[in-house]
Amino acid sequence: MKTKRMFTYVFLIIAALISIFPFIWMVISATNQSVDVTKGTLLPGAHLVGNINNLFSSVDMWQALWNSAKISVVTTVLSLLVASAAGYGFEMYRSRSKDIVFNILLASMMIPFAAIMVPLFQMFAKVSSVVPFLGIDTASAVILPTFTTAFLIFFFRQSTKMFPKDMMEAGRIDGLSEFGLFFRIYMPTMKSTYAAAAIITFLNSWNNYLWPLIVLQSPENMTVPLLISNLGSGYAPDYGLIMSAIVITTLPTALVFFMMQKQFVAGMTGSVK
């Protein structure tokens, strides 16, 4: 029994180290010069401030951060509203076509993005000539196809299964409207589900690469992942600078995760049944 315990700890410690190591190395590299990064130095250097200065003076990092933040926040808010209303509707109301519609929704989860990106691009290209602010090279073009996902609706429906339905009845008797029930009873009780969904959506949106790569063309509309990918593709990339850009990008997502970790785990536990 003792050796088994030992093995568990050793295994978990190694797994945790492997998981954390790239983060440590990324932070160390952000303090080093380009040459040291390629040589894989493990000692922190004194170039963090220099790297960050270079980064902000050579590319418009602020603009990219702002673009990413704008897209991620709008996507998250819209997603949560739509997906929770849909998940709530699927679970709370009876209707004959419900299951058919839900199965069709689930089927859309099976469609790989690569399979629809070409026609989707053409669709937005067509829209561009009519309504420019919805078309190619705009934030809306990034947000629109990504904010409704079947996964999130599924996630909310699963969690709603555990929702105490008596509370709804009590609310109805007290004279709350259907909207009132949703906003005043459902939303506050499902806080941890919302938190988990918010983290998932925010991370996905902040980190999304392929679709923004296709629709965003001008440098001033670029999101952070596009910027980082571009930084590395030049002739003489400055690795220290790139690593500091990566640290800056990873910080918000890591912070969001650490702040909401408790709710996140609670939300996940409630939904996966």
């Binding site: 998981s19 790239p22 469609i111 790989p112 629809i116 070409v118 026609p119 980082i228 995760f257």
Partner: protein, 270 residues
């Protein structure tokens, strides 16, 4: 919304896949694109690569995730929160950011080679990125690093919903940890295992960010994925949307077939 942004493009893609031409100048050519598909060596290489990732990476990752989840589910374990957070942490990184970090870590003079040489595990640095075989290994290691914690959380949260008394009863009946794992844990987690298998399969079939940012699909086309090929056909080379849509449909067909197989395997033993 979903019908506008998923199903309409699906139908459009199907129509497109029967057309050919440059840019937006397209004509109907019937099955030409589909015939071209089977003699296109780049496409076949991309399919082969994607399946290598799928067959090796997905099982390794899911077994690892399940194993870690079972270890972490032990009530007497200390520092549980730390381990869980640490192992889940890679999930918050952007695919692009971690890919770039891995690219440098696995460079010829990079930290991974240094480490292995210092431990005397290898005598010569491995050409991780520039050798066709090791480049695939690098991609597989990278994806495993990023997604194991993600799948672990699903397993862990369903394990926590399992009634503890089942294990107690099994323990009294004298079932070993090994038997308990295969006779209780796996059957109870079957739905979630199926779910993670399907999502990981679809994820791997769409693999894009990692190959583009770690190896650019190279050396040669040794690491190119199907998604990257579709992207190249539409946006890198002279755009050929029709043929790109045909390649897209090959992914749809693969997803369908694999999902059917997985559902069958998952459903049979219930």
């Amino acid at each position: 919304m979903i019908s506008i942004f998923y199903f309409y493009p699906m139908i459009q893609a199907l129509i497109l896949s029967f057309k050919t031409g440059r840019g937006n100048n397209l004509q109907f050519t019937g099955l030409d694109n589909y015939i071209r598909l089977f003699s296109d060596t780049t496409f076949l290489t991309a399919v082969k690569n994607t399946f290598i990732y799928l067959i090796i990476q997905v099982p390794v990752m899911l077994v690892l995730a399940l194993f870690i989840a079972v270890l972490l589910n032990d009530e007497r374990l200390k520092f549980k929160g730390f381990f869980r957070t640490a192992i889940f942490l890679p999930t918050v990184t952007s695919l692009v950011a971690y890919s770039v970090v891995f690219k440098y870590m696995f460079g010829a003079e990079g930290i991974v080679n240094k480490f292995l040489v210092n431990l005397h595990l290898i005598s010569e640095p491995i050409q991780w990125i520039t050798d066709p075989f090791w480049a695939k290994v690098t991609i597989i290691i990278a994806i495993t690093w990023r997604f194991t914690g993600y799948n672990m959380i699903f397993y862990l949260s369903s394990l926590q919903n399992v009634d503890k008394s089942i294990y107690e009863a099994a323990h009294i009946d004298g079932a070993s940890a090994f038997t308990q794992f295969f006779k209780i844990t796996i059957p109870l987690l079957k739905p979630i295992i199926l779910f993670t298998t399907i999502t990981s399969t679809i994820g791997t079939l769409q693999l894009f960010d990692e190959v583009v940012n770690i190896t650019k699909g190279g050396p040669g086309n040794a690491t190119m994925s199907i998604s990257q090929y579709i992207y190249n056909l539409s946006f890198e080379y002279t755009p050929n949307f029709g043929y790109a849509a045909t390649v897209s449909y090959s992914i749809v067909v693969m997803v369908l077939i694999l999902t059917l197989i997985q559902n069958k395997l998952g459903g049979d033993k219930r």
